[in-house]
Symmetry: C2
Subunit: 351 residues, 2 copies
DNA sequence: GGCCTGTACGACAACGTTGTCAAGGTCTCA
DNA sequence: TGAGACCTTGACAACGTTGTCGTACAGGCC
């Protein structure tokens, strides 16, 4: 037992690369096929103007030697500077929302032979800047980012360097690039209206920090819905600060301890929703206090009652963003992906 | 409304890269600083033998022009062929287990200035082969893969090309490379022993297809536990085929409809466990049939009863794999990461 | 002053590929 | 049969960087 209780067994000595010979190049293939290396280049790239017999000979030689083109040399030489590589900057690849988004990007990229760099920023602008620079150095063709707040100079620089920049999940003010967003405000409004339709007038809101764009939009939707129904906004029922996880439970406990507690809750993110559902369960209130959450999550239907949510479509966002990033760049667009209300029980509890 | 009900708004015409000038090179910086380009190269790489005054002048010129080294040219020229890039091949970046594993890799990579290519194979060997080739072409320094079954020739080739290969989650027979594994067999045995300790003797097993390594190991642990307790293996209680999700529910329904149904279930993967918990709920059996699942999952503690699991530590696996991939290559090792039993109620229901 | 040593810098080749252009051969048609 | 067009192939420069080597100059010593 060593590090972290991990057992490590030494298996064998690492041999030098089995064939000490370096990796074959165009010249090696050319020598074997008895042609010039430029002809091999043509065959490898499927360019026209090579006789069938020569193509066959070159193919054979390339296969025999296990030739693979050197991407660095290609990137260096190509006139258009394309590297068939894109960079992705997400908040957290471990979060189900971003994980699904990444999968959407990946699918489109793979179908076009594009490799994907991925990294998580954890909302740290410094990390975002460093990773953007690392991707610029590697000449990515496009950069898909869920931007942090603050300074977008590095994203602008990426665009200047010729990378196609596409923002997902949130826009960046003052940057004229493609954006793919969820309709946060309309979704949130829809969810709160759903609660109002079930007779609720004291509806608590628990969301993330207002410094986050999606958090602001979702709160705006909440305000709009109340306003449209003529219900005055009561800031005593609103909680918008602190870290996602630990503080959310405190917020719920706190709201439920009010002299006049809310009869329903609207939660602004999946992790908050889960925590809130847990907190209501602990207080045995899950069948009396209604809850609608933003973001769908695995198992929402297995809780009792099932959790009603406003579902986003992260997979579609990812696909759309990748198609934008890899498609023709005629003009910059903003795409808004709609949400879906999924009724499962918790949102249909009447006041 | 267009594609998928998505609203797309055209925002503006995409301008040509703001400064039509190409990106600055060593030569541009050299011209501005009044030195040779080789001197700039020395300054940029922090090599000794440059006088302080010249260093300052070069730094200033580089900053003024916004110089960033061209990674392709560096990779092409460097003697050791390092690109500060690694490739990661997972089964599915959208699955929480692999997402956490990827985050672990990412953290270690970022701390060392390494960029990470990520992609999902969905257990398709063809996809694994294609992506491996794409990464070889891009000269990754290391390849971290959760290998599919079958042909490992392409992984061997990656190793031949000088890439450090590290396997995670499952080994590949006949490949002498580093491996980082969960102790599947011991974990599974522990889980089944836990059920036996609570008086169960008819314990159902629902797992993934035996073609998957982890599935075989977990079943082996199940068999070992029964064997040690002197309980005969009853294949009528074992279900090991079909797709993860849809078929699992059928398997549970099927097991529970037996003349002598099992009093407890051991499930071999998170998705199966969730489905099984749902199926038991639908049959109102959640408080009568015990269940222990392999893999922890979000919300396992919010279900009623909470779901007892054998938890892996994917984050640790990722970190360990990345450290192996980026560290010194003295010998090949196999690291085994232990599991943890988390009691939450479902596994403590007595027979 | 001549010689040696060490330091600071520059010239140039090379990495493996793509783009440009030219050379040689075959074919067509007057 | 000769001119022109087309097709196939090769020679060579160039991409931006790092590695090797050479050169200029300052300082120390006899």
């Amino acid at each position: 037992m060593g590090f972290w209780g991990v057992t490590t067994t030494v298996m064998g000595t690492l041999s030098a690369p089995s064939t000490a010979s370096r990796r074959p190049t165009l010249r090696d293939v050319a020598a074997r096929a008895g042609v010039s290396f430029k002809t091999v280049s043509r065959v490898v790239n499927g360019e026209p103007g090579v006789s069938p017999g020569v193509v066959a000979r070159v193919r054979e030689a390339a296969d025999a030697l296990g030739y693979r083109p050197n991407a660095a040399a290609t990137a260096l030489r190509r006139a258009d500077g394309r590297t068939a590589t894109i960079g992705v900057l997400l908040e957290d690849a471990g979060n189900p929302f971003f994980a699904a988004l990444l999968r959407g990007i990946e699918e489109v990229a793979r179908s076009r032979g594009i490799a994907v760099f991925a990294s998580s920023t954890d909302l740290d602008p410094g990390r975002e800047r460093d990773m953007t620079r690392a991707y610029i150095a590697r000449q990515v063709d496009a950069l898909i980012a869920a931007p942090t707040e603050g300074d977008f100079a590095h994203l602008a620089q990426a665009a200047d360097e010729g990378a196609r920049v596409v923002l997902v999940d949130r826009p960046a003010t003052g940057l004229d690039v493609d954006v793919v967003l969820t309709d946060n405000r309309a979704g949130s409004r829809r969810g709160v209206e759903h609660l109002i339709a079930h007779g609720h007038r004291r509806i608590g809101f628990v969301g993330r920090d207002p410094s986050i764009y999606t958090s602001r939009e979702r709160f705006a939707g909440y305000v709009e819905a109340l306003d449209a129904a003529g219900i005055p906004l009561d800031m005593a029922l609103v909680r918008r600060e602190g870290a996602t996880r630990s503080s959310a439970a405190d917020h719920i406990d706190n709201l439920m301890s009010l002299a006049e507690p809310p009869t329903a809750l609207f939660t602004g993110q999946d992790l908050i929703t889960m925590t809130a559902a847990g907190a209501l369960q602990r207080r045995r209130l899950q069948d009396r206090v209604a809850i609608v959450g933003f973001d769908d999550f695995e198992l929402a239907d297995l809780l009792q009652p099932g959790v009603t949510v406003i579902a986003q479509d992260p997979h579609a966002i990812g696909r759309l963003a990748a198609e934008r990033a890899l498609g023709e760049a005629a003009s910059t667009t903003t795409s808004v992906v709609p949400t879906r209300l999924i009724e499962r029980g918790s949102g249909e509890i009447r006041a």
